[in-house]
Symmetry: C2
Subunit: 188 residues, 2 copies
């Protein structure tokens, strides 16, 4: 053997990370359909065989990309702050911003397994948001909040409509959280 197993593990981790970064950037820019496995491997400086070995399929890689952004946020944010945190991370300036939502939104046009991944992630956000109200229709209210988040992302990042596209994140948060309070209030 010419390599230590540990060094190989480190290489594998670095290659996986490079593939995820490349996939996240390309999915965000072009959407799921127009991103090829070949382009991802090329941008990551890895070969396609490794991509399939580490992730299994393009769909599974897409799921990992969404999971990295979305599921981490859900796991690390107190429920009461999830809406504000998700909004702020979406509204950050382009350089620092989490582009998970772009990948999500730019992939709305097709019906492959990626649609199931998107739905799944939506379920997870909505489940947390629904705990914030004790209304009988908590799940519907949570879906409406989720829809608002996605719509803001759509108008801001994809359509680029002003003034929303370059509005101060704090102004957006204040307005949205104020209106959302009427949906997610506890009666008790």
């Amino acid at each position: 053997m010419t390599e230590e197993p540990q060094a190989r593990r480190r290489d594998a981790a670095a290659t996986k990370a490079a593939l995820l970064d490349a996939a996240a950037a390309l999915f965000a820019e072009r959407g799921f359909d127009r991103t090829t496995v070949r382009d991802i491997a090329k941008l990551a400086g890895a070969n396609q065989a490794l991509l399939f070995r580490y992730f299994g399929s393009k769909d599974a890689l897409f799921e990992e990309v969404l999971a990295r952004g979305g599921r981490e946020q859900i796991a690390t944010t107190p429920p009461g702050e999830l809406l504000g945190t998700a909004l702020r991370s979406m509204l950050e300036s382009d350089t620092g911003r989490d582009r998970t939502l772009d990948a999500y939104l730019r992939s709305t046009g097709h019906d492959s397994a990626a649609a199931a991944v998107r739905r799944q992630l939506g379920e997870e956000y909505a489940k947390v948001l629904a705990t914030l109200t004790d209304a009988d229709d908590a799940d519907l209210r949570a879906d409406l909040i989720l829809a608002w988040l996605l719509g803001i992302g759509l108008v801001r990042e994809i359509t680029g409509k002003e003034p929303l596209a370059s509005a101060d994140p704090e102004d957006v948060c204040r307005l949205v959280l104020g209106a959302a309070r009427t949906l997610l209030e506890r009666s008790g």
Copy 2:
């Protein structure tokens, strides 16, 4: 001449209408990118040369499809009822429903001139909604309402997430209009 000019005009109007219907159905189902001019002409039972003669280009035809749904609604609805009307027309059962929004949403993944058309229609909705509040940031508030409409369409029609996907339109309207009131209220 074997035809009366009037009969020819009637034929032209019928062909234009058939092309618009076919385009609306295909754009809503597949999005802008995956709909070809050839498919539209075929579904309409017309030839491609007529499509180009009547509409000029695929982009111009897309604009007509959005205009027919969106601009008519803006022109014929009192401003104070626009949000409720737009929501209800979006939430109608599949058979009777205006599918303009599907065409809009399924075409978010690409950056052609159709993006400019989408932005333009958004401007028109937002301009009307902004007249409903006298807040200093009326335009931002209007954009947020527009974003909510689009997000609800996205979750309901494209992602198909329950319970929103099959919620009673009246329940959705009640919740959204209630929360939107805090954004679009006049102080005076």
